[in-house]
């Protein structure tokens, strides 16, 4: 009977637990760590290194937020998420912040998540073998294309074919790596996914020079970290930390000179940004050193980009769209004031 009593108690607790969710900021500060959803291993974005430490662009983004909120860039709990899980994981509050994912209307409005800032403008592209002699995507009539399941790329490629009145046979794979291997092995003529990942996979191929990425991108893939819908405070915080990193690059603030700049810069925008004047930190519920810590942890946006995709990496993806607006790209931060 004792056991049954305990069981009933547990059930009652379960019933009571049906309440409102606490604010994410509070939760993160209380638990002392940020729960970050990462991929199961995508080169450049997030993958464990030989020491078992997660590294990559999305991981740095997490470090910046952790540094701003918790004053400790490493206070992160990494949760690998499969494509099918990532939205539910965020909307149900299992992770506080998820890796960059294509920002679509349906996800934003219908699936219980809110997007923050686009950190990586990707677009779906096509890669083919040089030996094929193809220069434009529309020349691929009748070709077969490897795509990854459960992503928007599957739908984009079908739309593209219908719009241009060409026939493309798609072969769907569970993961990018399988799809790419199939393409390299000659199972398909072309391989499609976001251009960044085309580049990343090409870098890992036996002969990277054999493959070319066609000039067209036939989709917009703005990759943005996202948070749970309805937690405005947390969404604002993440958004402005990320804007801060972009603003820092624009103002020439780097990991190395951030303290110097804070002390010496005469630029009022820099002073506001680094908390030398004003109280922008309090707008998002933090102290005034919030961005200094973030920049100390990972540097500005450009440094972050170079660390994962820059010329010194195996991926070597040119900045392109991901350059600052001042340099012809799309990366643009709203004014911090």
């Amino acid at each position: 009977m004792k056991i049954i009593g305990k069981l009933l108690l547990a059930l009652a607790l379960l019933a009571l637990a049906t309440g409102a969710m606490a604010g994410t900021l509070e939760k993160v500060q209380q638990s002392g760590e940020l729960v970050l959803g990462v991929s199961e291993g995508v080169a450049g974005f997030s993958a464990p290194d030989s020491n078992g430490k997660w590294a990559g662009f999305d991981v740095d983004m997490g470090h910046a937020v952790a540094a701003a909120v918790l004053k400790n860039a490493d206070a992160i709990k990494f949760v690998p998420l499969a494509s099918k899980q990532k939205i539910v994981a965020v909307s149900s509050g299992q992770v506080d912040l998820s890796r960059g994912t294509t920002w679509t209307m349906k996800r934003d409005c219908k699936q219980g998540v809110d997007f923050t800032v686009v950190l990586f403008y990707d677009g779906q592209g096509l890669m083919v073998k040089k030996s094929l002699g193809v220069t434009k995507a529309t020349e691929l009539d009748g070709a077969s294309v490897a795509v990854v399941s459960g992503t928007t790329s599957e739908l984009n490629v079908a739309d593209f074919a219908r719009a241009n009145n060409i026939k493309l046979e798609t072969v769907v794979f569970e993961s990018k790596k399988e799809a790419f291997n199939a393409y390299v092995a000659g199972r398909t003529d072309a391989f499609t996914t976001d251009v960044s990942q085309l580049a990343s996979l090409r870098a890992g191929a036996a002969n990277p020079g054999e493959h070319i990425i066609l000039p067209e991108t036939f989709s917009k893939e703005p990759l943005s970290p996202f948070v749970r819908h309805g937690d405005q405070q947390w969404k604002d915080l993440v958004t402005w930390v990320l804007f801060g990193l972009i603003e820092a690059e624009e103002k020439g603030i780097t990991q190395a000179n951030v303290l110097d700049m804070k002390a010496k810069s005469q630029d009022p925008a820099v002073q506001r940004l680094l908390g030398a004047t004003g109280d922008v930190g309090s707008f998002v519920g933090l102290d005034n050193d919030w961005l200094v810590r973030a920049i100390q942890a990972v540097g500005n946006y450009g440094e972050m980009y170079d660390r994962s995709f820059g010329p010194k990496t195996a991926l070597n993806i040119p900045r392109g769209h991901n350059n600052l607006w001042t340099k012809g790209g799309l990366i643009y931060a709203m004014p911090i004031r």
């Binding site: 290194d49 709990k77 149900s92």
Partner: protein
Amino acid sequence: MSEIKTFVPTPDSPPPLTSTGVLRWLRDNLFSSWFNSLLTLLALALLVRVVPPLVSWALVHAVWTGGPGVCDDASGACWAFIAAKARVMLIGTYPPELAWRPLAAGALLAGVVAATVSGRCKKRVLTGLWPVFFAAALWLVGGGAGLETVDQSRWGGLMLSLGLAAVGILVSVPLGILLALGRRSGMGGVSAVCIGFIELVRGVPLITILFMASVMMPLFLPPNFQINNLLRVQVGIILFSSAYIAEVVRGGLQAIPKGQIDAAKALGLSPWMVTVFVVLPQAVRHVLPALIGRCIALFKDTSLVIIVGLLDFLGMAKAASQDQLWLGHEVEGYVFCAAVYWVICFGMSRYGRSLEKRGPQTNR
């Protein structure tokens, strides 16, 4: 009456050479008829086609040591990749400075396994040893009580596979026994519930249960009642495994002669005492080899958790091949995984078979 002679057996003589030599063996075992000879030749042809290229790839042209980039021009396997990634594949993203803890747990595991397999320990000692080992391993890996805690999100690799399988078995065996007893309880309601559960779970693939655990379960639960992904997947595995174990145990329950129950009842034992002291011990002993078969199946099945984002052994092998410094060595990772899985599963199946041979009675 004639004189009685004494019979002296002729001493054994050795068999004729023609029935022992290598040639004879070849003839008996490989070329006993034209059909057998044909089979032998076909088999040899197959071996010649398969083995040399394999050896050349895996051994002759392989690269064994070195850092990133050392394999760029190799035509054989890149075992240096495995060497560099061994730790990640074995213990995942576990903090490197604390790596001794899972290793110690592994050593403990090896010790307990050796004690079990040697067959020298008393069964009572073993049944005590395993739970103690589990507690120790959990403490070593997870921390607490003097050790720094390591969050579950950092458990991965082979350690995670073994952990998922071990906890899965540990919890699902009692649960399976309860289900089996419930199914045979004779109480309509309870047995209907048990049958329903068992058949429902056994009727669907593990993947759908894992999907359910990782994608659907958060929708079932209240918003701030959160269970992490690992635990949910573990629950899914336990539910899945317990249904199968229930069926195995049911087989054992059915094999118990009715006389045993009658005898126990005649001694005045109450029904539950009959079950606990007489029926269950015999049933479990009877199905021990089959249970080990389930352990193997479960261990292999844990490789599916990769589909719901847990980086187990196979998952870590895949993730490791995504390291920018080591891109493009997936096959070696798979081969390494296959070898490790094979050794563990084959070892378990051998142990199961030896138990079967020893027979249920001699099991102290």
